[in-house]
Point group: C2
Chain length 350, copies 2
């Protein structure tokens, strides 16, 4: 912000540009802290046209937003969310499953070459966690650290410590979706077996539903024959209507989440764990077995519950923000980076 | 340190007092950064005499060391390591398995009441990790963040970020020994089943060896009949001599460690993971299955190995310091706290 001296203009309002680059949709927005999203541009991600075409679409939209909203405002930065895994600070993609053909693509360099200015890349799961921390559950609770699992096609994971994304050494922290839950479980695309993602992603729920059909789940079989086929939403409706097989799918997904979350609670002792993504809409179906496992498997959780030794120390909740969380995270990323102080420990001060 | 002004005395050398309070031994030391351990007092932990007697022994030794080594030196602080779980900043113990009868004991308040000055409590696993980071593997590699598993009666865990202990919200971070490895595994004292501690602690190795005897492991059965019985050390010797059953015990312990470490690597993306404690002496027996599991279950690990996209980003190694690490950690704790800046991210700077 300009210095506010006598005789000078009043300080310019800071704003930012945020981008959410997904395998299907590309969203670009201008944002200010006082007004929120000033304008959002929605585009299809033209994967078939090649990665350069997608980057061109993105940069074109960024430049338009800068022109429309830049007058009288100061640009804090441009935040870009992409599917992981993302190598930082290089801003290089590693075999992103949702962006086939983008392996090894130096996305940051390419965008900066076109725009002629610096941008900051971040994985979409980290940005969803950042938004949930600063604008969602974290803000509601007055907490600036959390661990978030985003249940989508896969399971994204972001860890926020003291209002900042925890990257780890090479920018690859937050892959808890690939924690092993059942070591001899089904093979995961990552090379392991029985990853959390194999039980509690939307893809996994679909697979579990199909396995239930083979085991004679008549309600799910009827659902599979409907025009839309098996979706998490329809399966949740079926479960809510009392179908035990459909309930069993969510029960298993909740168990896997609970086993994974218990490990994270025991290891990290953060104040807040958030479950987001489309499948989190089925929270009422997932949460009973989830909490049963966490309660059984984490004595840190038990000690930090009301009535425990350190009450109210651990909360596990569904996300507050919806599908916009990734885009909002990209928008607020430049503001969180403007504070260049190191990550503050949420830890007790000893 | 005193201000070093013209006409004033030369600055006093800083020193600290460190205590390692274990279920069997009580060790109290005076330490300076230039000379290391100035003097160490070894006492039995007189559990039978009651907790107040143990605290009196400790405080008496601290006062003697302060008197002996305090002249011409400035006290940086007194660090005290205790078995966890420990609630911070209260310095209150929660059912420590190795200190029966100490549940809910406000240890810090008691010690400060006797000494008339502030002390800092920390769990022994966190202090071992701190020492390994600042004086052991971390120093050798020039790395100031790590996650350490200490294989003892149970499995301790400490996480160091930027040269400081990561406590979490209520001081209970670092209980990765209770990560679930096999969800339907044997019941653990923590209330869960199949915890890492049930496969890779010294206690677990003993149990696995006895289970092998039931399954007709003749070599181990012969070992059980020897005067010393089954110890991890003797079992390791048997395995090294080629006994397949004994090898199988370490193989399973290594597998469990590998599954747990893979989850930690995927979640935290730290530069260094250290395995310490007595059982880590059997590193050559544990490491083949450990690395096989980590390699298979963590693509973050694979990407951060030589030849991977982000080479040399993740190291997994046995501890460099021995049984003194807890005591050394208690001694250096006051020095790390003297730097009051927030935890620095080892993360990439984006």
């Amino acid at each position: 912000m300009r210095r506010h001296c006598f005789g000078e203009k009043i300080p310019m309002t800071p704003f930012s540009i945020g981008v959410d680059l997904g395998g299907t949709n590309l969203r670009i927005a201008a944002y200010s802290q006082d007004l929120g999203l000033l304008e959002t541009i929605l585009l299809p991600t033209r994967l078939a046209a090649g990665r350069n075409a997608v980057v061109d679409d993105m940069c074109d939209a960024i430049l338009r937003l800068l022109k429309t909203h830049g007058a009288g405002r100061e640009l804090m930065g441009i935040g870009i969310g992409t599917p992981g895994p993302l190598e930082l600070p290089e801003g290089k993609l590693h075999s992103p499953p949702n962006l086939p053909g983008w392996d090894g693509f130096e996305l940051r360099r390419r965008i900066e070459g076109i725009l002629g200015q610096q941008v900051t890349l971040e994985s979409d799961a980290n940005l969803a966690a950042l938004a949930e921390c600063m604008l969602g559950r974290g803000r509601s609770l007055g907490i600036d650290s959390l661990c978030m699992l985003t249940l989508g096609t896969g399971i994204g994971n972001g860890i926020i410590l003291g209002g900042r994304v925890w990257h780890g050494t090479t920018g690859m922290a937050g892959e808890a979706g690939h924690m092993t839950i059942w070591p001899e479980g089904p093979a995961c695309g990552c090379g392991s077996n029985g990853c959390l993602e194999m039980y509690a992603s939307a893809t996994a729920v679909n697979r579990l539903a199909r396995e239930a059909i083979v085991a004679d789940a008549k309600g799910i079989a009827a659902l599979a024959d409907m025009p839309g086929g098996i979706t998490a939403r329809e399966l949740a409706k079926l479960a809510e209507s009392g179908d035990q097989d459909a309930k069993g799918v969510f029960d298993l997904a909740g168990r896997a989440l609970g086993i994974g979350l218990a490990g994270l609670v025991n290891t990290l002792n953060l104040p807040l764990y958030v479950v987001g993504g489309g499948l989190a809409n089925a929270w009422d179906l997932l949460s009973p077995s989830l909490f049963a496992e966490v309660h059984r498997r984490s004595y840190v959780y038990r000690l930090t519950q009301p009535g425990g030794a350190a009450a109210n120390g651990t909360r596990i909740m569904p996300a507050e923000l919806g599908a916009d969380s990734g885009l909002l995270g990209a928008c607020i990323l430049p503001f969180t980076l403007a504070d260049r102080s190191p990550i503050r420990s949420t830890a007790v001060n000893v």
